[in-house]
């Protein structure tokens, strides 16, 4: 079966597509989704990691063959896989006994994820129907002819009031590149000082090494904004993950004591970059704005 080119619509059924090979299931990814949707296969039984590994191999093979739609299929997979993952996480939560509101909320969240998955599938199917209908309808050509000269002559004389200059201004307006309309209200104009998690980690490291164990309260006592407190909290989590600090707490809600456990040679460079990319990006954009404002 020849693979369709980029222009062709690819209705979900019939596309060669990505195949999943699992212990309990072998077949197209779409079918796997369908089975989960119909609850014949418990999402908790699906080894998502295996599916993902297989999918990455599949996409690599597609790209090696120069298939342009690999990206389309990859983004689609990510959406579904992320939803499946959420769904699985929600399913694995203890849900046998519904005791408090939190449990109910969890169950509702699970159903919502499930609904979301189904909705996604439904729109995919509808898109397939649209594609087929558009193609079938494309075989009908509408009568769309210009007016018979006899009737065109009856049209009232055109009122024309534009000077060549006005007409040129109109043309300029028509050619001016259109700004993409906003999809949401911009918040760029709201100024917030850039805070870098990595910088805060650096700062906390210096303090802890200098003074020994400190409470979280002490570490944030000089923070003048909530954002800064949050950044220091995230920095502590990062440091903990990097095994640079240890936490001690006498009891629930007791003072949290933070102790430095890494050596002197530790640097913030080692921290995960997930906050840093965004933070530095923000810092740049904010800096740019301030220049404009000034």
């Amino acid at each position: 079966m020849a693979l369709p080119s980029e222009e062709l619509p690819e209705p979900a059924p019939g596309r060669p597509g990505f195949e999943v090979r699992l212990e309990n299931f072998t077949g197209p990814f779409d079918l796997l989704l369908g089975l989960i949707a119909k609850r014949r296969l418990d999402v908790t039984e699906v080894a998502l990691a295996t599916v993902t590994d297989d999918f990455i191999a599949y996409i690599r093979a597609l790209r090696a063959k120069g298939e342009d739609w690999a990206l389309d299929e990859a983004s689609e997979f990510l959406v579904i896989a992320a939803t499946l993952l959420d769904l699985k996480a929600a399913r694995l939560l203890p849900a046998g006994e519904v005791e408090d509101e939190e449990d109910v909320a969890r169950l509702e969240a699970r159903d919502l994820l499930f609904a979301r998955l189904l909705q996604y599938k439904a729109f995919k199917e509808i898109a397939g129907i649209f594609g087929q209908t558009l193609e079938a309808e494309g075989r009908r050509y509408p009568r769309s002819v210009s007016l018979e000269p006899a009737f065109a002559a009856l049209l009232p004389e055109l009122v024309w009031r534009h000077t060549p200059e006005q007409f040129a201004a109109l043309a300029a307006g028509a050619f001016a590149p259109r700004e993409a309309p906003p999809s949401e209200v911009g918040i760029e104009h709201l100024h917030a000082p850039p805070v870098s998690v990595r910088e805060q980690a650096e700062l906390l490291g210096v303090r802890l090494r200098a003074s020994g164990p400190l409470s979280f309260r002490a570490l944030t006592s000089d923070a003048d904004s909530r954002l800064l407190v949050v950044a220091r909290f995230l920095a502590l989590l990062e440091l903990f993950r990097d095994r640079a600090v240890a936490f001690e707490q006498a009891g629930p809600l007791a003072e949290l004591s933070v102790r430095w456990t890494a050596g002197e040679g530790w640097t913030a460079e080692r921290l995960s970059e997930e906050y840093e990319d965004e933070a530095s990006g923000d810092a740049q954009s904010l800096a740019g704005e301030e220049q404009h404002a000034g």
Binding site: L118, Q119, E135, R143, E184, V185
Partner: protein
């Protein structure tokens, strides 16, 4: 005017229109009652079908219009370049589906359902005339989109209400209303 003269008058007007024309407008032009015009149009359409004429009369997007019969598409396509628009990609079709069933809807919401950024796809759909802007969301200020009558024409249906029902495509979900509630908007 005799019945067949009335039908002929309708044919004459339909011959010069270049977009679907509503029953009401035809009735006004012919100075006849709308139900009568409706009956005449249906009879004409049936007559063309029964006689196997090369054209057909269809009510699309709320109006009547002459079309070539699909059976002769191959021959007709050699003469008509228009309408030979490039086919839509899968991404465009899915985005179109979301807009059709959730209209009026903003891009952020479409993106949330599709799971990917849809800005360029929406732009393509607008350029193709299948989708148009429909004001802004009073809360978020985001631009909302809806399908056009050209979309209905291309799909060969009379109105958005004739879109295929979405519920059969949501299997195993008894309470459709719950999703609707959670995600807002009627699903048709």
């Amino acid at each position: 005017m005799q019945d067949d003269r009335r039908a002929a008058a309708l044919e004459a007007v339909l011959m010069v229109v270049d977009e679907p024309i509503g029953t009401a407008e035809l009735a006004a032009t012919l100075e006849l009652a709308e139900p009568e015009v409706e009956g005449l149009l249906r009879a004409l359409a049936a007559e063309y079908d029964a006689a196997g004429r090369g054209f057909e009369l269809r009510r699309i997007a709320g109006g009547w219009r002459f079309y070539s019969r699909p059976e002769f598409a191959d021959i007709v396509s050699r003469h008509v370049l228009e309408g030979q628009t490039a086919r839509l990609t899968q991404a465009a079709l899915e985005t179109l589906a979301v807009i059709a069933y959730r209209q009026p809807v903003g891009r952020a919401r479409i993106a949330a359902i599709r799971g990917v950024n849809v800005d360029s796809v929406v732009k393509t759909l607008v350029t193709r005339g299948l989708v148009e802007e429909a004001g802004t969301d009073p809360e978020s200020g985001a631009i909302l989109y809806r399908t056009t009558s050209y979309f209905l024409e291309r799909l060969g249906i009379g109105s958005v209400a004739e879109l295929p029902r979405i519920s059969p495509h949501l299997p195993g979900l008894e309470a459709i209303a719950d999703i609707e509630g959670a995600y807002g908007g009627p699903a048709g």
